[in-house]
Symmetry: C2
Subunit: 371 residues, 2 copies
């Protein structure tokens, strides 16, 4: 094989597919990037068996061929090369010569035949949205997936498509994040659970342009995202997702309108009194016209008053401050509305159209005060 590509194109390709290279594996070949120039295209592929990424890069094929190169070493070499044309040349014993200006690197590759190609997945019924929309919806929900594998379904996000609506849901047992998005077209009903890792990696490599599209294909076991020159194939998480409808009530006893930045900054300040691993709630004391926020820890105490618009009853309620911070950070509005029932029922942060709903369970308040 012999290729000539610009350093910039190589680097772009390497950066994209590297996201699917496993950090630890017993199969050495999976730690490689496959360079496939056996046809008239140069394709880079990486695959950790759950998630596979393939991207086409521009360049000249002088001699067709395939080689698998250690992803870490190859990407470091590419990164440090001068900003110029790069030649990659391999021989029958997989010796690989990478040349750029006067620099010559010699490394040993592996046969491409041992590499696990992306699974073949039939592409039917495409769903289309802008890159921006997909990237945003991931950012706005990914923080509330569970960070351990105790319940596999909680490590993924529900993607539910009905008519021209996409609903994305994540939950970890203490909170639920929901985003509802209007699509341009109408689609057949589909409901799948996409691994959180897949969504995290996609949001890193997705340029996120509002003018460009992502085409999504869903089958029984896989989801495919196609954008620009890149294809991402991921396994789906099997099983029936949680029935969240029963948890979403629209009754409330207290409704609070509050400036988002003030609330976020205040909770953020309060958390500095909490040492890592310590569980101390932030207490909200909601009254007419203002809300007092308090936190008590071994380090000290903090309290602050924030002006609010209140409808309904006064309430004294405690929360894990991190859950509020996570949700408030991804809401773009200047003002948010909180809906509460009682100190043991979930609090909802949502807009009137329910384009977003963040449900946060309160923490036991008596224990908190005495803690």
């Amino acid at each position: 094989m012999k290729l000539i590509c610009s350093k910039a194109n190589l680097l772009k390709g390497v950066n994209i597919v590297s996201k699917a290279v496993p950090t630890r594996t017993t199969m050495n070949i999976l730690e490689c990037i496959l360079i496939d120039a056996s046809t008239d295209e140069i394709k880079f592929t990486a695959n950790d068996m759950e998630l596979g990424i393939e991207t086409k890069i521009e360049g000249e094929i002088v001699e067709h061929g395939i080689i698998a190169l250690d992803a870490k070493i190859f990407s470091e070499i590419v990164r440090k090369l001068p900003d110029n044309e790069v030649t990659i040349e391999t021989d029958n014993s997989f010796q690989t010569l990478i040349t750029c200006e006067k620099a010559k690197f010699n490394i040993i590759g592996k046969s491409g035949e041992d590499f696990s190609y992306l699974p073949y997945v039939e592409r039917m019924d495409s769903i289309i949205m802008s890159q921006f929309t997909l990237k945003e919806v991931i950012r706005q929900t990914i923080f509330s997936i569970a960070d351990n594998d105790n319940n596999k379904l909680m490590t993924g996000e529900l993607f539910e498509i009905s008519e021209n609506q996409l609903k994305v849901v994540s939950l970890d047992g203490h909170r639920i994040s929901i985003r509802n998005i209007n699509l341009k077209d109408y689609y057949k009903y589909k409901k799948v659970v996409v691994p959180g890792k897949t969504l995290n990696e996609i949001s890193k490599i997705l340029p996120g342009s509002a003018d460009k599209e992502v085409v999504i294909y869903i089958t029984d076991n896989h989801i495919i995202f196609e954008f620009d020159q890149t294809t991402v194939v991921s396994r789906l998480i099997e099983g029936e997702y949680f029935r969240i409808e029963q948890m979403l009530s629209s009754d409330y006893e207290t409704k609070v309108r509050i400036n988002k930045k003030e609330l976020l900054d205040c909770i953020d300040r309060a958390t500095l009194l909490i040492k890592e691993g310590e569980k101390k709630p932030i207490i909200m004391n909601v009254a007419d016209g203002h809300m007092e926020l308090k936190i008590n820890s071994f380090i000290g105490s903090m309290n602050e008053d924030i002006d609010i618009d209140k409808e309904g009853k006064d309430i004294l309620i405690g929360f894990n401050p991190k859950f509020f911070i996570d949700a408030l950070r991804v809401i773009d509005e200047e003002e948010v509305t909180l809906y509460m029932v009682n100190p043991k029922a979930p609090c909802f942060i949502k807009d009137d159209e329910e384009s977003y709903i963040y449900l946060i369970l309160p923490v036991n308040f008596n224990a908190a005060v005495n803690g």
Copy 2:
């Protein structure tokens, strides 16, 4: 005690003195910042018994007093406060109330009386240089102090003042860095070894302006740096510094003029083939008009040609690439000159005026080729 200061002033003061707060200590009081408003100035002090920093901050003293506050908690609180006036108020039981806008923090402080103030040091014979010069000379030499305590003198830098010259030297047994600086005035001869940690911290807090000065006082056991509103007092390292003159020969067999960036980039590229902890030399093969650089490791090999101007003999010599990278990074010239004698004698990188001299010992070359 009751003070009113802007958040910005508090933060500036906290950031400066925090550099002298020890990370681990058995004396809790040393982990504090002392706020001293017992006179008409507000002074922040921190002191780890080797290095002490004091800085004055602007603000209003409503009630005189002294308090010691945990440095980590106090600096985090200050950092997260709104950008406005901050009130710090203490009572007789060291309860400290920090108020800014509607936010109120309550933390418990310590009596200032337990705090170790900076040692009293007599200020005689000041030495003056620009902040820029001091900051630069530290950056250009600090990398070659020893990183372990086996030889205490190697963990510091020699500051030698004679007439209107300051010579700064650091060495770690494999290399020597020397910078010679012209001062504006003439001074009495002085020779001290300043702890590397002190110099590192000073270079972090020194604004580095070319128009502003640092005033330095040296006594038998201490060195004092005064700049802007800040005073840094450090112990000196005791003992006789190494006699480096005998290692500095001006004889050479090979003289090489080379573009600094090309050489640096090339060595930098070569090092990516070396895994952490692996010792592989970079081999320089100096011939007429060009120099070949080679590296061989378990990962692969790399070689590159660089154009040079050569005087004298050809030479084949090997070096620890990191030592070359460290020295080349702090030389500002476009071209550098290397002086070499034989593959077992040190290589010198220096300019004609000897404003800088970097001496680097070569590594055993035969072992390297077979390694």
